[in-house]
Amino acid sequence: MLWYKAWLETRSRFLTCLATLTLFSGIFVHHAQGLIRPEWKSDFNRLLFVNQQFLVIMWVLSVVLLGMGGIVREKAIGTSSVTLALPVSRARLLRVRFGMGALEAIVLGVVPWLAVFVVASFARKPILITQVASYVLLLVAGGLVYFAMAVLVSSLVSGEYTAPALAFGIVLLAAMLFDAWLRQFNLWRLVTGDFSIDRSTYLLSEHLPWMGILSSLSVAVLMLLASTIVVQRREF
């Protein structure tokens, strides 16, 4: 039932984000013919790449919002005493919350791209399911660290506006700093597919940046562990 609670807490945010991302992707791909420029060689593939750029922005915003909440926020609104009186450990509370958020983040990555695939297929556009799968993999596996960061921030900061503001600030700052000095480690470019795209065909390489993805997932796990330690040590 903790999963049920986590679902009830996040469902409105999740469904709103899902509808926004899916509608945006579907409509963008359907109506983007006008955006295609004559000089583009692989026009539709390039359109898909552009779609991923927009999708990443919206997806990261969505998962940061989904990462908000939790027991620290509950303390601020007064319900932490009910949750902490339940016969479950704080680590389990956090794991369930993380699990539900991660599932929602995956759905937020998969469904909009499925919509793109369906729309493109109906419009008889050349779209490869392997390309869609690669975009989703980069987005979700590479980007889950953004969600983990939001969970960590929400374990440290309880303010309704402070926590998301801080999380969005970290996303922006990290993207800028890495782009300026450590471009090859810039997570944003990894997730958007910038490191994997072939600039002539605008197809993602078959050799995805697995090291980058695994490193990103490892950092996400470390952030989850850090959040668990913070929540276990914290007093309510």
């Binding site: 039932m1 049920y4 609670k5 009830l8 807490e9 609104i77 007064g78 319900t79 932490s80 005493s81 009910v82 902490l84 009186a85 339940l86 016969p87 479950v88 450990s89 276990q232 007093e235 309510f236």
Partner: protein, 297 residues
């Protein structure tokens, strides 16, 4: 006593910086009793309860609830399986309906009593489909009490349980508490409503500024606490009456009022030695005991 105690603390202390919320609290709450935990706002009652439930860690000292160490995370989780707790402001998840709330909480307790749930739903007239955030404070209190009572707990910890209830609801609550106690449930509750405490409690603990000042059965309190009003032919010397058991002395002209937690006979004896003109001894109610105790400290 140790084996019979459902709550046992030894020099339990909680400090926030230089401020001590609870100071060296040594408390023993007996099994199958209704124990009232009294104190002014900020006396440390809620902090003590939160330490017992593992929500905050003691700065010093130790404690057990149902024989399990409160500072041990694993043992504390076992405690929470057997303890029902109703928090001060009756916080519940506003986004759940009454039905969802009951379904959610009942899933954690295998001994959940559907019969009690049904009875209280009926008696409290709780609307199943209404969101908790739309309930009145009284309704929310009733729902919180239902969740605690239907769990078949070994120990019930209630923080201001009657807050928000109307007189009918309070009466019903007191009856349920007595019935649960008769069924073998130990009850530990904090309250500002001394008249209610006096009606149901077997034992009373009074906390003031984090220190335990009174820990006695209600019968003992009634038996030993006395107010002695004395009139002398002269201004009486207070020092003569500062003996063990005398909590407070008030003098006005030839009159003296002595508040004693015990040794009332010794006070009267001294008064007679000083040629007292008039002696009036009156038993003291819990309200006066509480007020005098906290005033003195």
């Amino acid at each position: 006593m140790t084996n019979e105690a459902v709550i046992l603390t030894q020099a339990l202390t909680k400090s926030y910086g230089h401020a001590e919320a609870v100071r060296g609290l040594s408390l023993s709450v007996g099994r199958n009793r209704i124990t009232a935990f009294l104190g002014r706002n900020g006396a440390g009652k809620s902090t003590t309860i939160k330490m017992l439930l593992g929500m905050i860690r003691p700065t010093a000292g130790s404690g057990t609830v149902l024989g399990k160490q409160i500072a041990n995370t694993g043992e504390n989780r076992e405690v929470r399986q057997r303890v029902a707790y109703v928090a001060e402001d009756k916080p519940l998840y506003g986004y759940m309906t009454v039905e969802q709330t009951i379904r959610f909480f009942s899933s954690f307790y295998p001994d959940w009593r559907r019969d009690v749930e049904r009875k209280l739903l009926h008696d409290y007239e709780l609307p199943l489909q209404r969101k908790v955030k739309m309930l009145s404070k009284g309704m929310r209190t009733k729902l919180a009490l239902l969740l605690a009572f239907a769990r078949r707990p070994d120990l019930l910890i209630l923080d201001e349980p009657s807050e928000g209830l109307d007189p009918v609801g309070i009466e019903y609550l007191l009856q349920v508490l007595v019935a649960l106690s008769a069924d073998g449930v130990s009850i530990f509750f904090s309250s500002h409503q001394i008249a209610e405490v006096e009606r149901v409690a077997d034992h009373v603990c009074i906390l003031e500024k984090g220190r335990l000042l009174v820990d006695a059965s209600l019968d003992q309190l009634r038996q030993f606490y006395r107010r002695i009003d004395l009139v002398f032919p002269f201004s009486p010397p207070e020092g003569e009456f500062r003996i063990s058991g005398v909590e407070r002395i008030q003098t006005s002209g030839h009159q003296m009022s002595v508040f004693a937690s015990r040794n009332a006979e010794a006070v009267i004896e001294r008064a007679r030695d000083l040629n007292v003109v008039s002696v009036e001894i009156a038993p003291v109610g819990l309200r006066d005991i509480f007020l005098e105790t906290v005033k003195e400290n």
